[in-house]
Symmetry: C2
Subunit: 171 residues, 2 copies
């Protein structure tokens, strides 16, 4: 399995799923007659990041995974989103960025050394970075976003989380 297969398509699809959960959140807000943007400041604990920052972090986890594993510089996003429309645009922008990558960009990804400031004198191999940092971190912020919406009464379910699957017909 290539590192591309193990990262970009699934992260892209999952961000598209996340966008759908936000749509369901907007529907919930309309149904309950509250302003949808209120959801973005919702959180599960007072010392935890609110939904808007969870989504920004999920987008960044995906963006930096693709950029670092392919040795490219990631585009900057200043984390200034305040509305549902703005955060959905952030997701769209990240999905488009992920869509700009292909298998060949990841040709050297597995054994590439990934340097991160907080690792200080150490580095991490591309495949370990993907398995131990990028994917867990991505799912951490995606599932926390889902959990915040779920806690707020939004009608999201496990199928919305998993989304579409690459099935094969049985021969």
């Amino acid at each position: 399995m290539s590192l591309y297969e193990a990262s970009v398509p699934q992260m892209k699809k999952t961000l598209e799923n996340l966008d759908r959960w936000i749509e369901l959140g907007v529907a919930h807000a309309k149904n309950k007659s509250f302003e949808p943007d209120v959801l973005l400041q919702s959180r599960l604990a007072p010392d935890q990041w609110p939904l808007v920052r969870q989504i920004q972090s999920a987008c960044d986890a995906a963006k930096f995974a693709a950029a670092r594993l392919s040795g490219k510089e990631a585009p900057k996003h200043p984390d200034e989103e305040k509305t549902v429309a703005e955060i959905r645009q952030r997701i769209t922008s990240t999905v488009q960025y992920l869509g700009s990558f292909g298998e060949k960009d990841f040709a050297d990804a597995s054994n590439r050394n990934i340097d991160l400031p907080f690792l200080e004198g150490n580095t991490i191999l591309g495949k370990d970075y993907l398995n131990e940092m990028a994917l867990p971190n991505f799912y951490f912020h995606v599932v926390t976003s889902y959990a915040i919406l779920r806690h707020d009464g939004v009608q999201v379910g496990k199928r919305d989380f998993i989304g579409s699957l690459k099935l094969q017909e049985k021969s």
Copy 2:
């Protein structure tokens, strides 16, 4: 990257991390003078599974991923845990099961057809099963467990979630 590298070691470590969060939950319960087993019935929404079932599901996601990708039959766990000691034993048992696998068990995993009852007339390739179902499902239940504990005031943080990393010294 092999499917073994992309699954077993990371799932095993993450379940060990989860066990540590439960320890922190027990410390929190003692500090607040409540019975630690109460945490197991905690949930983020009335129609969501409680912590104990999230942990059972995380264990099962890991167990079935290893079993299905290697073509083995998974051991049965009847989901009868009611106490912290019992659910920690479930985690230990799953960690031990994961520890029984090695690279060679996954030799045919990538292109193995995974048959699941709810896919009806379809099947899914091993690598797609891992990326699109097993890993997302595993992280879904692990992060939801974390979120429930976090919501209940347990002092878990991002470092407890990520755990140890396979770092390399910079040459």
